[in-house]
């Protein structure tokens, strides 16, 4: 392998580095946009945005959109769409309420059953999309209506409240405070933060080593280092902020596990690869032996389960099952995915991109609410941000001579 590692010295390292960065403009742009928005609101709200309590709230209050965005980005990469997730969130919340308060099902069993309902919902929609070949837009538009209707039937147009504390912890609980509530920084959170940082660094080093070994590495070392340092600082900063308030929200752990697991699935599993292949060129995927129908079906089952999880988190957080819950969540999730760099035509997108897109929307919501911007302007601004992000993408593609 040793002969592979000797790459010819670049005639001009600066030009090469610049060209590399230009190629990565979309990813960098997304990060920069996030940072600029955070700094803007930090200044505009005179320091409220990055107060520990607000950061904690930001995570908790956006968690269900971020969870939905993970499922949605997979659906969109495959070239489909899911408009029904908002209604599924409401339906699962309603069923959780009915099970726990009326049928007296234990809270943990209710969670399992609700995830099962999500899988059934996904199988229903996946069947029509994958095997009956009805466009996902139509099937999930129908789902948006039917599941909203089922929610109202299940709740008989009333709200259900309250939920047991154990169930509520899923939405608004924190990990136990090992410092006994007296320490300045909550020790468990600090531990988790440091562990996460170490894992990120280890993973980064390992991956670069492997890529170097096979001579496919074209990322300049300085940029690689900057990225690693930046990510580490970011994690430690969030850790610091959370540790100086109530500690780690339980939902952040859920979200973290989902992000890691689904990032791995999308980048390293056969299933994930098939999703990209279907979205990139359906014909070529089918002629390469990809079972396109089965993959599409499973994709929607997965989306159903994720929507159910988001529904549980949302219901637990509000401590309320409400017939109107989840209204418009599908649009926030879809917007997050597209801001995060996914292509409307499928085949392109990442889980991390969708999460950053979701955070951008979340911080915009949060910051504008603190500033007292009316909801009419919030909508207007979010709409323009979505358009700008996608316009930037399209422009970028055209500049690079894409089709």
């Amino acid at each position: 392998m040793s002969d592979l590692t000797t790459t010819p010295a670049a005639p001009n390292i600066l030009t090469a580095a610049f060209r590399y960065l230009a190629g990565q403009l979309r990813q960098i742009g997304l990060f920069i946009a996030l940072i600029v928005i955070v700094i803007f609101f930090e200044v505009a709200t005179s320091g409220i945005t990055l107060k520990p309590i607000n950061v904690s709230n930001l995570v908790v209050q956006n968690s269900y959109i971020l969870i939905l965005a993970i499922g949605m980005v997979m659906v969109i990469i495959a070239g489909h769409i899911d408009l029904s997730v908002g209604s599924v969130v409401a339906f699962v919340g309603a069923m959780a309420g009915v099970m726990i308060t009326q049928w007296h099902v234990p809270w943990w069993l209710a969670i399992v059953l609700c995830l099962g309902i999500g899988a059934l919902v996904g199988m229903w929609q996946g069947f029509w999309i994958a095997y009956f070949r009805i466009p996902a837009f139509i099937v999930t538009l129908a789902g948006m209506l039917t599941f909203r209707g089922l929610t109202q039937i299940a709740l008989q147009n009333r709200q259900i409240s309250p939920f047991p504390d154990e169930f509520r912890a899923l939405g608004s609980g924190f990990l136990p405070d090992l410092g006994g509530g007296v320490s300045v920084l909550e020790p468990l959170t600090v531990g988790i933060g440091i562990l996460a940082t170490l894992l990120v660094i280890a993973q980064g080093v390992r991956q670069r080593a492997a890529r170097k070994k096979f001579a496919v590495e074209d990322e300049p070392f300085a940029w690689y280092l900057a990225k690693l340092v930046f990510t580490s600082i970011l994690i430690l900063l969030i850790t610091y902020l959370l540790a100086s308030y109530n500690g780690t929200p339980i939902v952040l752990i859920v979200l973290g596990v989902l992000v890691v697991a689904y990032s791995a699935i999308m980048s390293r599993s056969v299933f994930g690869r098939h999703i990209y292949a279907i979205g990139g060129n359906l014909n070529a995927a089918a002629l390469s032996g990809v079972k396109t129908k089965r993959v599409t079906f499973l994709l929607f089952v997965n989306m159903g389960v994720i929507a159910a999880l988001a529904g549980l988190v949302f219901t637990a957080q509000l401590n309320l099952a409400n017939p109107k819950a989840g209204d418009g969540f599908e649009l926030d999730a879809i917007a997050a995915v597209f801001i995060g760099g996914a292509a409307v035509t499928g085949g392109i997108g990442t889980v991390t991109g969708a999460i950053i897109g979701g955070l951008i929307i979340g911080i915009l919501n949060n910051g504008m609410s603190i500033l007292g911007v009316g909801s009419e302007f919030q909508q207007l601004i979010k709409g323009l941000v979505l358009l700008a992000a996608v316009a930037f993408d399209v422009y970028n593609k055209r500049r690079n001579g894409g089709r």
Partner: protein, 506 residues
């Protein structure tokens, strides 16, 4: 048309082509696939605007410079493409007047539309009601509607690009009658056709084009014109050293296809492949020669996981055992690979990189319990990049940005990695330059030397003659001959490819 030269980036499609068409005559244009016939007609009809080619077009004694199709149609030149340009959900009348709506005060006058359409339909001998939807009439009638549409534009010169390629015998005969009939009304026609008997039946002159050059124009009324003479002019070039030398080491029979019949997926009554029988042996390169529409790709795709067609019947044997090829996954598992004719539409994920395209058909070899070993993937792809000489900085280059030849090497790598016993290569050298072609031929030879069976489908007859050990000729869905390398001459294969059913004497 005088001295027409048209170049595409890197290719000279037409070179000093001159052609003279007499008013009121039917002029046929003949040539192999890719000789430049369609390009020439696109120049004439303004698809390629004035200025994008060199040379002059003289129409009715005036030099003309068409900016687009509308321009040429205004002058009375109408082209009917091989793929019909009709909107299936609109009526016959609406299609005839599409873009030329019969209006009264800005509103469509439906009575006038349907009345005028009826008159035009009568002229082309079609008795259907003008309000019938296009999708409800057959391809033959659709062709007539196209001609009616041309008549509505007061056509003086009608260009037909392979008008009978998709028609059955009866519809073809009717269409040819109509063209002759229109000639009586003073309408000049240029007809591009592969079917030599049709040309003999109706054409007044025939011009032969080869490699983007006019070879000769023959007067069909002179006695000496025979099909053999036309064929000779069409193929007439020698096999230069464009093909690497290869001594085959042919072994046992690997794959046999018996009584293979495939029906058209939309027109279930039409068989596109009819009772085909063929086999390939280990180490053998077998060619399938056929004109466009003969059923070559349809045959291959239907064998490869029933990816094409309806009501497919027949049996596939490998090493004498009957095998299942009903799904693509089953075909791959049984050691069959199929590299598609159109790599951009069916072969590659153009927005993804080289390594993921190469691994795409054989992820099972790279993964354990559903997780891909990405390091191994890079190593495998890197191996093919070197051995196949794929010109790219590394295996993470996006395939959409590679040249045609390099894209084709990625496709071949992908199928080689799936480790098949039989490879079906559909137009493996289409749209790639001469140097890359030579490399691809070398790869095909190497595959055969490894003991694999290779089936090559190609429109380029010289290519098949240059690399194949045996050639099947396919005409209208039927295999008309199985020729050994020694027996296969360009003239003979071309004759078998163009052989019509009624003359089927073998």
């Amino acid at each position: 048309m005088r001295n027409i030269t048209k170049t595409f980036p890197g290719v000279k499609a037409l070179q000093d082509v001159s052609i003279g068409v007499q008013r009121g005559h039917i002029h046929a244009i003949c040539g192999e696939n890719g000789a430049g016939k369609s390009t020439l007609m696109k120049v004439l009809s303004g698809v390629y605007p004035h200025g994008s080619y060199d040379g002059d077009i003289v129409f009715e004694n005036k030099t003309v410079a068409f900016k687009d199709i509308n321009d040429s149609e205004a002058a009375g030149i109408v082209i009917i493409h091989q793929e019909l340009a009709l909107s299936p959900y609109l009526s016959i009348a609406e299609n005839i007047f599409l873009g030329n709506e019969q209006q009264t005060g800005g509103w469509i006058d439906w009575n006038k539309t349907n009345l005028e359409a009826g008159k035009l339909l009568a002229r082309v001998g079609l008795k259907d009601n003008p309000i019938t939807k296009i999708r409800d009439i057959g391809v033959g009638k659709q062709q007539l509607v196209e001609i009616a549409k041309a008549l509505s534009k007061e056509v003086k010169l009608l260009i037909l690009d392979e008008p009978t390629a998709a028609l059955n015998d009866e519809d073809s005969a009717h269409l040819l009658d109509l063209i002759t009939h229109l000639k009586g009304q003073g309408i000049t026609s240029i007809i591009i056709s592969h079917k030599l008997n049709e040309i003999k039946a109706i054409a007044d002159e025939v011009t032969i084009i080869r490699d983007g050059k006019t070879i000769e124009t023959l007067d069909m009324h002179a006695d000496a014109v025979t099909e053999e003479r036309i064929i000779k002019l069409m193929v007439g070039r020698d096999l230069e050293s464009r093909y690497p030398a290869h001594t085959p080491k042919i072994g046992e029979e690997l794959l046999r296809i018996e009584n293979w019949t495939v029906h058209h997926p939309l027109d279930h009554s039409r068989a596109v492949v009819k009772e085909a029988n063929l086999f390939v042996r280990a180490g053998e390169i077998v060619g399938i020669a056929g004109l466009m529409g003969a059923g070559r790709t349809e045959l291959a795709m239907s064998v490869f996981g029933e990816s094409y067609g309806y009501n497919i019947s027949g049996t596939v044997y490998k090493n004498g055992q009957k095998i299942n090829t009903r799904t693509v996954a089953a075909a791959i598992a049984n050691g069959i690979a199929y590299a598609t004719e159109d790599r951009k539409v069916y072969g590659l994920n153009l927005i993804d990189d080289i390594k993921r395209n190469i691994s795409g058909a054989a992820l099972g070899l790279l993964s354990r319990r559903g997780w891909i070993d990405e390091n191994k993937e890079i190593m495998v792809a890197e191996g093919y990049r070197k051995s196949m000489n794929i010109k790219a900085p590394n295996v993470e280059a996006i395939t959409g940005k590679l040249s045609g030849g390099n894209q084709q090497k990625v496709v071949l790598s992908k199928w080689m990695y799936s480790n098949p016993d039989v490879l079906i290569l559909d137009e493996p050298t289409r749209g790639i330059d001469v140097g890359a072609k030579y490399e691809i031929y070398g790869i095909i030879n190497a595959l055969a030397d490894e003991g694999k069976g290779v089936i090559v489908i190609s429109s380029e007859l010289p290519e098949l003659l240059g690399i194949c050990d045996r050639i099947y000729a396919l005409s209208e869905g039927r295999i008309t001959a199985d020729l050994s390398r020694e027996d296969a001459t360009a003239e003979r294969v071309m004759q078998l490819m163009t052989q019509e059913r009624e003359k089927d004497h073998e």
